[in-house]
């Protein structure tokens, strides 16, 4: 008997056509009403999930949050005032299809770019905030993202208030080439100036924070914080696995991995975010005196 005959049973069982379940079928529920948690696989009402700040009611998994949801959940109600919202990208390298992709994402995300910046308050403390949104070009940093963040840092410097940034980014925006690389330097030199003037920088890394963003402002906080389970990395896992052929631990490049290796001050659940950030801001309030 030939070796391959051993496998005839498997061959007859083989389906003629592969059936690919749709995303909707996979979650077994009509889209929109219910959401399935990718971690614990439990199903919950989308409305309840949203009310719980997009944190799984069962296991605490943090779903991605868009910029608007973040502002609503983090900034004191009615205090947010957006700045530089009318800035949009050009196509400096004449990169094929770039403008079309931008327009598509503008429609999809209802944002002009991958970061929203503004002035507001948290727990009554005034601050300048920058919130990245990964639904726009994976939150990648091109000239506009770099410029808006730099302008926000300069605004915080001018007002003498803390600068808080929520990062979410796949890295530098390839379509803007070296110009996007240089935004890493631009934002970093602005942070240095702000820091030398005594400015407080708080960086909160959310899922995912990688590449050029992770290797610039995201890592430059006086306090480097992260949401649970967030992917935070310089080089992607697949890049490392393929080029280096090293075996990687399961929690590799998660917030928990970074905390263990001394790269973070703390991991903060989204449900505690306002309280914890308010505490830091409060301690930094000038004029504290020994009672």
């Amino acid at each position: 008997m030939a070796l391959k005959d051993l496998f005839t049973k498997n061959q007859t069982k083989k389906k003629k056509y592969a059936t690919i379940p749709t995303e909707a079928a996979k979650s077994d529920v009509p889209e929109g009403i219910m959401t399935k948690c990718p971690t614990c696989k439990k199903i919950m009402y989308s409305k309840e999930l949203s009310k719980n700040l997009m944190v799984c009611l069962h296991c605490g998994h943090h779903f991605p949050m868009n910029a608007k949801e973040r502002i609503d959940s983090f900034i004191d109600e009615g205090s947010f005032e957006e700045i530089n919202e009318n800035m949009i990208s050009k196509n400096p390298l004449n990169f094929p299809d770039y403008l079309e992709k931008l327009e598509k994402d503008r429609q999809k995300s209802q944002l002009n770019e991958a970061v929203v910046t503004g002035i507001g308050s948290v727990g009554g403390h005034k601050l300048v905030v920058a919130i990245m949104d990964s639904s726009f070009r994976m939150g990648s940093m091109g000239s506009v993202v770099g410029e808006k963040i730099t302008l926000a840092i300069e605004k915080a410097d001018e007002l003498g208030v803390p600068f808080v940034i929520f990062t979410a980014s796949g890295g530098a925006r390839m379509q803007e080439g070296a110009l996007s690389l240089m935004q890493m330097a631009k934002t970093s030199v602005a942070l240095k100036k702000f820091s030398d003037n005594g400015g407080l920088i708080i960086s909160i890394m959310t899922h995912p924070t990688t590449g050029g963003v992770s290797a610039s402002f995201a890592s430059l906080g006086d306090y480097n914080l992260a949401e649970p389970g967030a992917l935070i990395a310089f080089a992607g896992r697949r890049v490392i696995e393929q080029s280096i052929r090293e075996e990687l631990p399961e929690d590799f490049q998660t917030a928990e991995f970074l905390l263990k290796h001394g790269q973070l001050d703390a991991i903060i659940s989204r449900l505690d975010m306002v309280e914890k950030i308010s505490t830091i801001l409060d301690i930094h309030q000038p004029g504290g005196e020994l009672a």
Binding site: M184, V189, A190
Partner: protein, 325 residues
């Protein structure tokens, strides 16, 4: 022959033919001098045609040549009394970055650069010029020392990128790069950066926050390698040649984008053809640029560097454009 590339093959072949003819006339009793002269005229024109129209992909090949001069090659031609300093004082000495103190035409300076190997053995030792966090931390330590003793800093950039590996991530590759960008912004001494080979993304930029940034004519500076860009854009790394053109990674491209201050001309065919002559070209620009920067006060140097990077980037305000909501 080592160091000869596809695009320059016509030149190499013609040159070979001429020398064959010369050899032949030496031994045979014929006079071919007029033919040789004609061929030499053609060679000159051919060289001009080829070397003055080097395509981006050819420059990538030149920048990656194994025998392209490295940081240590230039250090030996440009500086006296180079004293190398090792280690980041925290974890290790990363030999993918070299640095130390030296004199440049009598002026004490600190020199730092990526260092790749020229053969496999040296490349393994130097991790192919791809630094770990401790390499960047060593560089920062030396920069802070230069700041303390008021020495200008000269950085040579030549890396495919920061090393993507498990150990590098554990020790904070991102933080190490970010910290250098941040701290370089505050240095009170002149900082001059020269891209001599490949300038690969954040790993290159971590030595690149200078008052002046120069590129050798055939070097590249990019956010991602042409292969990487091709894999993402066309799902096929073999489109690297197209990506090299699209991504605008050559010295002339970056000059036009306002990322670099000037291009340092290369010896015909590439720096590897005559290292000494190439070092002389670098010396000219280094000397002129130092003379300028040494006139600036500490505050002026910091704001000069700030303004240099502050102005990079292209964007529009939505009212400028028609057809966007």
């Amino acid at each position: 022959m080592i160091g000869e590339l596809e695009f320059e093959r016509p030149v190499v072949e013609l040159r070979k033919k001429i020398s064959e003819l010369k050899e032949f006339t030496k031994n045979a009793d014929v006079d071919l001098s007029s033919e040789i002269k004609k061929l030499e005229g053609r060679l000159e024109k051919l060289e001009q045609d080829i070397y003055e129209n080097i395509k981006p992909w050819d420059r990538v090949q030149i920048a990656r040549l194994a025998n392209r001069p490295t940081t240590l090659d230039y250090i030996s031609f440009l500086f006296e009394d180079f004293f190398e300093c090792h280690g980041d004082r925290t974890f290790a000495d990363d030999e993918a970055i070299v640095g130390g103190i030296a004199k440049f035409n009598g002026l004490p300076v600190t020199v730092i650069g990526h260092q790749r190997g020229k053969d496999t053995k040296e490349n393994i030792r130097r991790n192919f010029g791809m630094p770990h966090p401790e390499g960047y931390r060593k560089a920062l330590r030396l920069m802070k020392q230069a700041d303390k003793f008021n020495r200008p800093i000269i950085c040579f950039i030549d890396t495919k990128g920061a090393y993507p590996g498990k150990a590098a991530e554990e020790r904070g590759q991102s933080e190490a790069i970010a910290r250098n960008l941040f701290e370089m912004a505050g240095l009170k001494v002149p900082v001059i950066c020269i891209v001599i080979g490949e300038g690969g993304s954040g790993g290159a930029l971590a030595l690149g926050v200078g008052n002046r940034i120069y590129m050798l004519e055939n070097s590249t500076y990019s956010v991602i390698s042409p292969e990487g860009a091709a894999a993402i854009l066309w799902k096929d790394a073999s489109f690297a040649k197209n990506a090299a053109e699209t991504m605008k990674i050559t010295a002339p491209d970056l000059k036009e984008l306002g990322v670099i201050d000037a291009i340092i001309p290369e010896v015909k065919g590439g720096a590897h053809k005559d290292v000494q002559k190439q070092a002389e070209e670098i010396e000219k620009i280094l000397s002129a640029s130092l003379k300028q920067l040494l006139k600036l006060s500490e505050d002026e140097l910091i704001s000069d560097r700030y303004n240099r990077f502050r102005s990079i980037g292209e964007f529009a305000l939505i009212n400028d454009l028609i057809g966007v909501k």
